[in-house]
């Protein structure tokens, strides 16, 4: 009998010591998907036969002494904007429902090389942007903590599937918060790595200069394991950075002592007012971090609305350019939320876009200056717990200003970390942000925080 919930690190230890076989683990997840996913709708497509075949192959390799590492035999899911050879990659949209790529995305190939078992393709907001939508070929994913609640988006299926233990980890993408939002609402750890760290080749784009691929899992340690496999230069992605890749999991052992943290309190106390539960949880997180030997002091940046205006203008402009031809030809094949947001995007002028790019340079410099004598900053990841899924406004990306978009604008590594639960049992979260290419420091603080708090022991009751 395989436990309902296992982290990647726990399962990897059992697999390496031959106490658990990949076949047993994959079968247990397929059983769980069959039992639970009709309520959660986290999967667009379950690849049961392919997953069993990959698990058998992993079993055979491990039995032959060829253990590849901590992802070998681990069941994961892919947001359905990650291209998969011979398997439809739809963007959760009628517009691409018959799109069958010939090759895996670079990142998918890397996960397979590490031995991960792909269980299927996961729900997303349409093209990683428009949702939650009820007028698409597949329903929106539901939050496992309360299925009447929003998962956050756009990596909605990954948030739901990981939280529910249907997979042990998965991929998301983040153009304005699409990893960190679902991670926050579903109680996960989710990191948007530094821009350029993970190749976006073979991932359906939303906004080229803001798009980040990244992992979502139950713990920071699991994110570190996934990031290790995903990170690395790819000449097929023009933004892919040639930088050394550190050992992210080893970095976790350094602890948090001595880290200098700036708290951007005005983002969530004034600019996008968080509710009382969220504020209390973040105050508690700051105290915990001080108890771990960090220094925490308030810092002030430009108003959140400035960061959001910059990022949203760029995102909408780039998304419109990507979808322009299909919007003209087949407007109503898109869902209403996506297409109406795109109609608004069409109102942005070329001068607006260039002004946003100029503002971006100023904001990047502003954050760099603010962090000159800091290692990290922290702020809210979301202003509240997950709202009801039927109360998400059509144009929510524009108002109130996004708490996550600032770090897409700067390309900084940014992570959502669970920091407690409401009285009703819904997850709360905060956001840790590092300097570019210091993703390991972000993971290190998140791991130290998780080890010092009880939040990772609590799982959805399904």
């Amino acid at each position: 009998m395989v436990a309902d919930y296992l982290t990647i690190a726990e399962a990897a230890r059992l697999i390496e010591t031959r106490e658990l076989s990949p076949v047993e683990l994959v079968d247990s997840r397929l059983d769980r998907i069959a039992r639970l996913d009709d309520r959660l709708h986290s999967f667009i497509r379950v690849l049961a036969d392919e997953a069993r075949a990959a698990a058998r192959a992993a079993d055979a390799e491990i039995a032959a002494g060829k253990y590849r590492g901590p992802l070998h035999g681990i069941p994961i899911g892919l947001k359905d904007i990650y291209e998969t050879a011979g398997v439809a990659t739809t963007g959760h949209s009628k517009v691409m429902q018959d799109h069958v790529p010939k090759a895996d995305a670079f990142s998918v190939a890397k996960l397979r090389q590490a031995g991960a078992v792909v269980m299927g393709k996961l729900a997303t907001h349409e093209f990683a942007f428009g949702g939650p939508s009820f007028d698409l070929p597949w329903p929106p994913a539901r939050n496992p903590w309360d299925t009447s609640r929003f998962t956050g988006g756009s990596s909605s299926g990954t948030g739901a599937a990981v939280a529910a233990g249907l997979v042990l980890g998965g991929t998301g993408s983040d153009t304005g918060g699409s990893i960190r939002g679902p991670a926050a609402y579903c109680g996960l750890a989710g990191i948007k790595p530094t821009y350029g760290l993970i190749s976006r080749a073979g991932i359906l784009p939303l906004g080229f200069s803001l798009d980040h691929a990244g992992p979502m899992a139950w713990t920071a340690e699991d994110c570190a394991i996934l990031l290790q496999a995903l990170a690395g230069h790819d000449p097929a992605d023009p933004a892919s950075a040639k930088v050394p890749i550190p050992d992210y999991r080893a970095a976790l052992q350094s602890g948090a002592k001595g880290l200098r943290i700036g708290l951007i309190r005005h983002f969530y106390e004034r600019d996008n007012e968080a509710n009382a539960a969220t504020r209390q949880a973040i105050d508690g997180a700051a105290k915990t971090l001080e108890g771990l030997g960090c220094s925490v002091r308030d810092i002030t940046l430009s108003p959140l609305a400035d960061w959001a205006a910059c990022g949203v203008t760029i995102m909408l402009s780039e998304a419109y350019a990507i979808h322009e031809a299909n919007l003209r030809r087949r407007f109503t094949d898109y869902g209403e939320i996506f297409r109406d947001r795109m109609a608004l995007a069409g109102l942005i002028t070329a001068a607006d876009y260039v002004q946003a790019l100029r503002r971006r340079r100023e904001l990047v410099d502003e954050l760099d200056r603010a962090m000159a004598d800091l290692d990290l900053v922290m702020t809210a990841a979301a202003p509240s717990e997950a709202p009801p899924i039927d109360q998400v406004p059509k144009f929510t990306i524009m108002n109130p200003p996004s708490l996550t978009m600032p770090f897409n604008v700067t390309g900084s590594p940014a992570m959502s970390v669970c920091c407690g639960y409401t009285d009703a049992g819904l997850p709360l979260s905060f956001q840790i942000v590092g300097k570019r290419f210091q993703d390991a420091t972000v993971l290190r603080l998140a791991h130290a925080y998780e080890q010092a708090t009880p939040w990772r022991q609590n799982r959805p009751q399904l």
């Binding site: 821009y195 350029g196 200069s209 933004a239 950075a241 930088v243 050394p244 609305a305 400035d306 959001a308 205006a309 910059c310 949203v312 203008t313 919007l327 003209r328 407007f331 109503t332 209403e336 297409r339 109406d340 109609a343 608004l344 069409g346 109102l347 942005i348 002028t349 607006d352 260039v354 002004q355 946003a356 790019l357 100029r358 503002r359 971006r360 340079r361 100023e362 990047v364 059509k394 144009f395 524009m398 108002n399 700067t410 390309g411 570019r436 290419f437």
Partner: protein, 60 residues
């Protein structure tokens, strides 16, 4: 933005937006105008202020 202005803009874009969705879009158009205003500092920007197409990467 008035409905008439929106209809003209959508026609220029070549988008066939269903009638029932047009009022929603017109009502939200102020978000675009507000963002555009925020991108322009009072007094303007130095003419040589270049845009950032991507973030700067460290050497090596």
């Amino acid at each position: 933005m008035t409905r008439q202005e929106l209809d003209a803009a959508l026609a220029r874009l070549g988008l066939d937006v269903p009638e029932r969705e047009r009022d929603d879009i017109a009502a939200a158009a102020h978000f675009i105008a507000e963002m555009a205003a925020r991108l322009r500092p009072p007094g303007g920007r130095d003419v040589s202020a270049e845009p950032a197409h991507v973030v700067r990467f460290p050497e090596g």
